[in-house]
């Protein structure tokens, strides 16, 4: 189970460039979504890869693999991140998914452009906007993604109403 406050503080304190996406982003906006992992879109520039590696290294990142609950060890360095794009990890802080791209949105720069900032634990954290979440869920198109769309669209309507009035 993810330790949300600790994980988010760690990444922000380590100056990692990331955008919170997925279930935690949905929760932050006010919709109901039970999730136990932290999904992030991360910047893939050299400097940020170093920051990501350095931030998570003390927390023993392993690859999540079906049938191997403790995870599979991997060489945790910038080259590994460079060679891949998406990493589903178990860490000592819980499950963290690092995504280099989000369907329907794009890479980190596009995710950042489609994000809003939220005050969390003393930091301004980038969170994928409701509009970005709707686009990514539509593009992913799995039944579980489509299930959350009704609530996200209602939220979008309510928040537009609040901003207008």
């Amino acid at each position: 189970m993810i330790k949300l406050q600790q994980a988010i503080r760690l990444l922000a304190d380590s100056q990692v460039e990331f955008v919170i996406i997925g279930g935690i982003a949905i929760t932050l906006h006010g919709a109901s979504y039970l999730t136990s992992d932290l999904d992030l879109c991360y910047g893939r520039g050299d400097k940020n890869l170093i920051q990501v590696v350095s931030a998570l290294k003390p927390y023993n990142p392993r690859l999540r693999v079906l049938g191997i609950p403790q995870g599979v060890p991997l060489v945790w360095d910038e080259q590994t991140l460079r060679n891949g794009l998406n990493f589903t990890l178990i860490t000592d802080l819980g499950e963290i998914d690092l995504l280099g791209e989000i369907s329907g949105v794009g890479g980190f720069e596009e995710a950042l452009a489609a994000s809003v900032t939220v005050a969390l634990y003393g930091h301004e954290i980038h969170v994928l906007s409701i509009e970005g979440l709707i686009k990514s869920k539509r593009a992913a198109g799995r039944p579980k993604d489509l299930l959350v769309l009704a609530e996200l669209e209602a939220l979008r309507e309510l928040l537009e109403e609040r901003d207008v009035k």
Binding site: M1, I2, K3, L4, Q5, I24, T27, L28, G30, A31, S32, L34, T35, S36, V118, A119, L120, Y121, V127, A150, E151, E153, A154, L155, R156, E157, L158, E161, R162, V164, K165
Partner: protein, 87 residues
């Protein structure tokens, strides 16, 4: 504090609006309206508590199943206090 227009939309969603569609879909608008009153941090804290409590519950269920299975195994093996003798 929620704006009057948002409260009105939640209480009386306009036919065909996204809120009305969500209601028909089964979204509990009372829960949504409650969460809208929380800060983002408070929303995450609730999720963390729910996740932690659910994990504890799941472990209890696993433990209960194991205890019952063990009891069942002892019964079929002819435990002197609980079951019939094995053939």
């Amino acid at each position: 504090m929620m704006s009057k227009s948002v409260t009105k939309q939640l209480l009386h969603p306009q036919p065909g609006s996204a809120v009305a569609v969500a209601l028909e879909f089964g979204i509990d608008l009372t829960l949504l309206s409650r969460r809208l009153l929380l800060t983002p941090e408070e929303r995450l804290e609730e999720l963390q508590r729910a996740v932690d409590d659910l994990e504890e519950g799941r472990q209890q269920v696993t433990l209960t199943r194991q205890v019952r299975k063990n009891a069942g195994d002892q019964t079929s093996a002819g435990h002197p206090t609980t079951g019939r003798l094995s053939s």
